[in-house]
Amino acid sequence: MKKRGQGMACMWYPIGFTVAANPSSAVVKLDEDGTATLLTGTVETGQGSLTILAQIVAQELGISTDDVNVVSADTDATPMDTGAIASRTTYVTGNAARLAAEKVKMMLFDVAAPLLGVKPNQLEAMDHKIVVKGFPQRNMHIGDVANHARTVTGEPPIGSASFNPATVALDPETGQGKPFGTYVYATQIAEVEVDDETGDVEILRIVASHDCGTPINPMLVEGQVEGGISMGVGFALQEEILFNDKGVQMNPNLTNYIMPTSLDMPEIEVDIVDNYDPSGPFGAKGVGEPTLVPTAACILNAIYDAVGVRIHSLPATAEKVFNAIQAKRDAEPKQITA
């Protein structure tokens, strides 16, 4: 018989390295047509980080995502970066990119201020223009300002910056300190159906409420959560590298190392929890790794809810779940007679 159950799990997860320095640098330059180029040493490994960084630079300069080109991952051309690791790109590299873009913006303000007859601090960058605050009709196209900077002022609109999260080393005895700049939070809830004759678990749906600070790009945040959940599903039910008694792997291939296919994935509903972290670029934190952190736990809790067995070791294969159900059945009559 198939039995349904629900289970939840919440989590916290830090952004960046544990205490260890993990700086990022960024260079932003602006061309005379008002488009920018970001130089970053981080690597696009699928997360969409280059798109996010482009959006951050665009936001700071008041231009659109499409107006930002990104040059990345070439040690001859791009500045230092700790890399695509520890869910740090949006927060750490993003802060560096924002600060670099801010420097460009300040240079533009200095150039535009006398042309617009105001002080630099009366200016803002929006909608491809340098605008006098409160007087939107008093403006210059950002590209014209950039051109003026190069040809008249003689200073190219290029900015660079570094960012490294502020941490405090942990005491070796007590572990007390400030290991990370900030943390994100999330909850996932799963509904499962368990076949109590075979132990087979089908995950019907997962609702995932994730905090990432400000979502720079909600579509890419959803993609991260959905992908993380698929990795969590494999971790919960399927995946395991197995060794023989000689220490040699027995299933080093995708035939026998079982990871989720499209047919194994539940319906997923992603919910982004409203939040703003003042230490992140435009309030953003990060989302890469935490997406899979609560998945296995919520699935295992749902299995317990469905059939009353708690699996203490991952993965909860059908055989393991079935054996636990059998053990519970064997134990139950004894309890009654006792």
């Binding site: 490994t45 969409g48 959905e226 698929s230 995708l254 296919t261 499209s262 047919l263």
Partner: protein, 162 residues
């Protein structure tokens, strides 16, 4: 060595290859069509999916010589000079690909599906993608994009399925 002549994306191509050369290797190494990817080389991951005589197959599990005289479609043949294929367009708009490595195979599977079933259900889409492993996306936005492309290809005035 065997001489293999086949049609690739509507054009006749010939290559001289070893008997053991797979269609995937011929496409990538001899014809410089590197869109089809080698992810596992044994038919588990689907990154090498191409369409042969209208059917999606693992090009890593087919000898080049077995494709002699047959009609092969690869990811490179989907777009034309003035437009990307509606599936490619939908995949772009839905951000359905992340690292992108599985993408060419997934899109070829999707194309074969929509060629056969213009209005697929979600279970039919899941089944059609069952041979394409993806580690980044959980397949969610791929399914969304295939639904979107299906509607666009059938001329339904659907702007977005969200």
């Amino acid at each position: 060595m065997v001489t293999v002549t086949l049609t690739v994306n509507g054009e006749t191509r010939t290559a001289i290859v070893g008997g053991e050369t797979t269609l995937l290797r011929m496409l990538r190494d001899n014809l410089n069509l590197t869109g089809s990817k080698l992810g596992c080389d044994v038919g588990d991951c689907g990154a090498c999916t191409v369409i042969v005589d209208g059917k999606p197959v693992n090009s890593c599990l087919m000898l080049a010589a077995q494709a002699e005289g047959r009609d092969v479609e690869t990811i490179e043949g989907l777009a034309s000079m003035d437009r990307v294929h509606p599936i490619q367009k939908a995949f772009e708009e839905c951000a359905s690909l992340q690292c992108g490595f599985c993408g060419p195979g997934v899109i070829m599977s999707a194309k074969a599906l929509l060629d056969e079933i213009p209005n697929p259900t979600i279970p039919q889409i899941r089944d059609a993608l069952g041979g394409n492993l993806c580690r980044c996306t959980g397949y969610v936005k791929m399914i969304e994009a295939i639904l979107l492309a299906s509607r666009n290809m059938r001329g339904e005035a659907v702007q977005s399925i969200r």
